[in-house]
Amino acid sequence: MSRDSASAGRGVDRRHFVAAAGAAGFAGALPAGAPALAQHGGHGAAPARAAASPPPAGYVFFMPPEARFVEAAVDVFIPHDDVGPGGVEAGVPAFIDRQLAGAFGRGAGLYLQGPFADGAPTQGYQLPLTPAEFYRAAIREIDELCRREHDGKRFDELPAATRDAVLLALREGRAALATLPGATFVALLLQNAIEGYFADPIYGGNRDMGAWRMIGFPGVGGMYATAIEEHRNAPMAVEFRSIADMQR
């Protein structure tokens, strides 16, 4: 049986590419939080390959109040600080917007036939809502809760510490929404925010691979069959690479 050797041949190319890139070093325009890079052993300062062009601005799914809410929540989950890029500047709200506008938001991979019952936590998600419907309804209820308890202010109008407290109270079941399970929603929102922060930038978040640079995850197309022993228990210069970088 002969298989075409295309993949093996390509593998060699990739290896040369990695080696060359490693010799040239990495780096380039970095978001706040660049200290992580020093830690990962950088020496050169050659410019990074051009960052993927940012997704077009604007929201597809969110209406203005929803966009304000999601930006304000993402800012609590992944704030701007000197550890690494903030979720908002990394494009996480746009990521969530696109996810909700697409197949995930419309309930792909979700069985939505009734009858419906709350069930036990071990039985998992049991609402009759797609993620897009859940966001739309839950944001309204959280804003209502905030207006009632915080002098008529919406969630996004509250100071960061109060927003943090509202999300935490919902998640821990100390605060309740009018009809929906607040803890389930906060868990979904947090999960989607983390997805957007760490997923490939092609989805609109993790802009310029800022979250990958923060932790030292090199991204896609890695080949480590020799590096794993060469860099055993030692730092390694990392060349960060996204899907779009490799498609160019």
Binding site: M1, I215, R232
Partner: protein, 593 residues
């Protein structure tokens, strides 16, 4: 109404690991074979090429290669007193869909099960007496011994190009291998993968405690390799996108390139994709299968008559199809009679996370599905259970399979779930942490079972499979004991690197369908010597409908503390040979009940 097609000799339902082994092994018979696969076709190129293949969101989180539960799912409850509700999203396990099945997106850890696993009941009674077996536990021997299966384990490993180090060749212990494994005829076809720093730490720490570490057996080829069938595997890149992903290098064994092209050498083999089998058609007496009914890509129903039907649709789906079709007596937990759905089992997890200072470099993103170091000292009956009073054990390992950040972000307990402190902890620990995991055996119990749900239906109008399952005391005590051992191994790393903290990962108190644990579902159509306590005989042939064979881990009487595909593959070869050399010559029961 279903359109009746021209009869064929053999229909194979499902084109994953077992379906592909059967299709390839039976190809030389020259018989007319039709394989029906509910998902689409797949090829290494273009399906698994860089860079789109390394998309964590698409494949690992949105599970693009797995079963679509919008169409077909199951219902779940912890106990018969509760109402089962649908698994509305994939979680605990990730059954495959499409050519190659879960063999496309598995990790590749390829164990042989221990001789003890094949004889769990006999050896337990011999060593500890009957009383150690709780009355509600159905502990059963396999009807096939390790020695009988050894040639087929060997065949599966050589076909897959497994990388590893033998521990016991023909009774002679081999330094550096697993001293507890059953005797094998020869070493693995490929040497172990290179070791990660995490693996080196685990190796040294466990050795210092008197354990016997060895490289985990991996169906990720450590070098370019041509298997005995003449198929070329590439060398593994250790790219870290393995489990839940296809492999761009053909380094991870998968049926779509290792077996399917060989099955196609039979001109009378035909694979129909997007062909979803709804049921096996039986004659009026339910003693003979006449063929199967399936839907094609346009949703049209067809009846495919066949002389022989092989169910290779994955453990859970095989049991579902048997229940829907009326093959064998469904299990009734009240009377503890019936066999289809009986002895469903799973595995129990737990372990330890070891956090190091910033001068210890783990590089978690360098990895392969099967890259790691394991010990077998705490598996099965490899230690004296007398003072513990439980049955079973766990393989313990330190795997370097991935550092993909949506999923792999270890932080110490007590870290907030979000905010700057969370970010700082994620950044701080990402490259300086390792995990020690236990994969615990789970025995079969009278109240853990599969049947048809009375309420919920799939997109095709069929009742969903209903799973009733929870962990029992025996398993929880075993897993907690071994989690303590994982912590001890972690603590033993203190001399080897600057350990900040060893955190215990507690085994679950209740089974939950939500977090991913493993796609190691077993039982429901178990093999045995007695039709009262097994659904199939030692050749995986239905006792009740002898022209139906049922492959996959549904045949395991109980679950072991190691991954299932080694014996799943070996048993598929074993059954194929029995079909080829005996059944096809004289169709009928291969074992008299």
């Amino acid at each position: 109404m279903a359109t009746r097609l021209r009869p064929v000799d053999i229909v194979i339902v499902g084109m994953g690991w077992t379906g592909a082994i059967l299709a390839k092994e039976l190809a030389e018979t020259g018989l007319k074979i039709v394989a029906l696969e509910r998902g689409g076709p797949r090829q290494t190129d273009p399906d698994f090429q860089e860079p789109h293949k390394d998309d964590e969101l698409r494949y690992a989180i949105r599970t693009e290669l797995m079963q679509d539960v919008q169409r077909e799912t199951l219902t779940f409850r912890n106990g018969a007193g509760e109402t089962a509700l649908p698994m509305r999203r994939l979680g605990s396990f990730l059954p495959g869909e499409g050519v190659g099945g879960a063999g496309v997106h598995w990790n590749g850890v390829t164990w042989r099960w221990l001789p003890w696993d094949h004889q769990a009941r006999t050896r337990t009674v011999e060593r500890y007496g009957r009383r150690i077996i709780p009355p509600e536990m159905n502990l059963q021997d396999w009807p096939v011994s390790y020695a009988e299966l050894e040639p087929y384990y060997d065949k599966f490993e050589y076909m897959c190009g497994v990388s590893g180090k033998a521990g016991n060749i023909a009774g002679h212990l081999q330094p550096g291998g697993n001293p507890f494994e059953g005797a094998r005829r020869r070493d693995y076809p490929n040497p172990p993968l290179p070791q990660s720093h995490a693996g080196a730490l685990f190796d040294a720490a466990s050795r210092a405690l008197g354990y016997h570490p060895f490289p985990a057996p991996a169906a990720n080829a450590s070098r370019a390799y041509v298997n005995p069938d003449g198929v070329q595997l590439g060398a593994c890149h250790l790219c870290g996108f393995c489990e839940r992903f296809g492999c761009e290098a053909d380094a991870k064994a998968s049926p779509h390139f290792l077996l399917l092209p060989l099955a196609r050498r039979n001109r009378d083999f035909e694979l129909r994709t997007h062909a979803r089998v709804l049921k096996v058609d039986l004659d009026a007496a339910r003693r003979r299968a006449t063929g199967v009914t399936y839907l094609d890509v346009r949703g049209r129903a067809f009846e495919q008559p066949a002389e022989l039907v092989i169910l290779a649709a994955y453990a859970l789906n095989n049991v579902h199809l048997m229940l829907l079709s009326g093959i064998g007596r469904p299990y009734d937990p009240r009377t503890r009679t019936g066999v289809v759905g009986r002895n469903y089992a799973y595995q129990i997890g737990g372990g330890a996370t070891v956090f190091f200072d910033e001068n210890t470099w783990i590089h978690p993103y360098m990895g392969a599905g099967g890259l790691g170091v394991a010990i077998d000292d705490l598996s099965a009956d490899n230690f004296d259970h007398g003072r513990f009073g439980f049955i079973g054990g766990a393989s313990v390992s330190c795997m370097s399979s991935s550092g993909r950040p949506i999923q792999a972000r270890p932080v110490p307990n007590g870290t907030p779930s979000w905010g700057s402190a969370w970010k700082a902890a994620v950044k701080r620990h990402y490259n300086h942490t390792l995990g020690i995991g236990l994969q615990g055996s789970v025995n079969a119990y009278d109240r853990n079972y599969l049947d048809l749900d009375p309420t919920y239906r799939d997109a095709f109008g069929r009742p969903l499979l209903r799973m009733t399952f929870d962990f029992h005391d025996n398993e929880k005590r075993m897993a907690n004991h071994i989690a303590d051992e994982c912590v001890r191994i972690g603590e033993a790393m203190r001399g080897l690197g600057n350990v900040l903290q060893v955190q215990r990962g507690a085994p679950p108190a209740r089974y939950s369908i939500v977090p991913y644990q493993s796609t190691h579902n077993t039982g429901g159509a178990v093999m045995g010597t007695n039709p009262q306590t097994s659904a199939v005989n030692r050749y995986l042939q239905s006792w009740d409908v002898p022209n139906v064979f049922v492959t996959g881990a549904c045949a395991f009487p109980q679950n072991a503390g190691r991954n299932p595909t080694g014996p799943v593959g070996a048993l598929a070869y074993w059954a194929a040979e029995a079909i080829k050399t005996r059944y096809l010559r004289r169709p009928g029961p291969l074992v008299r009940a």
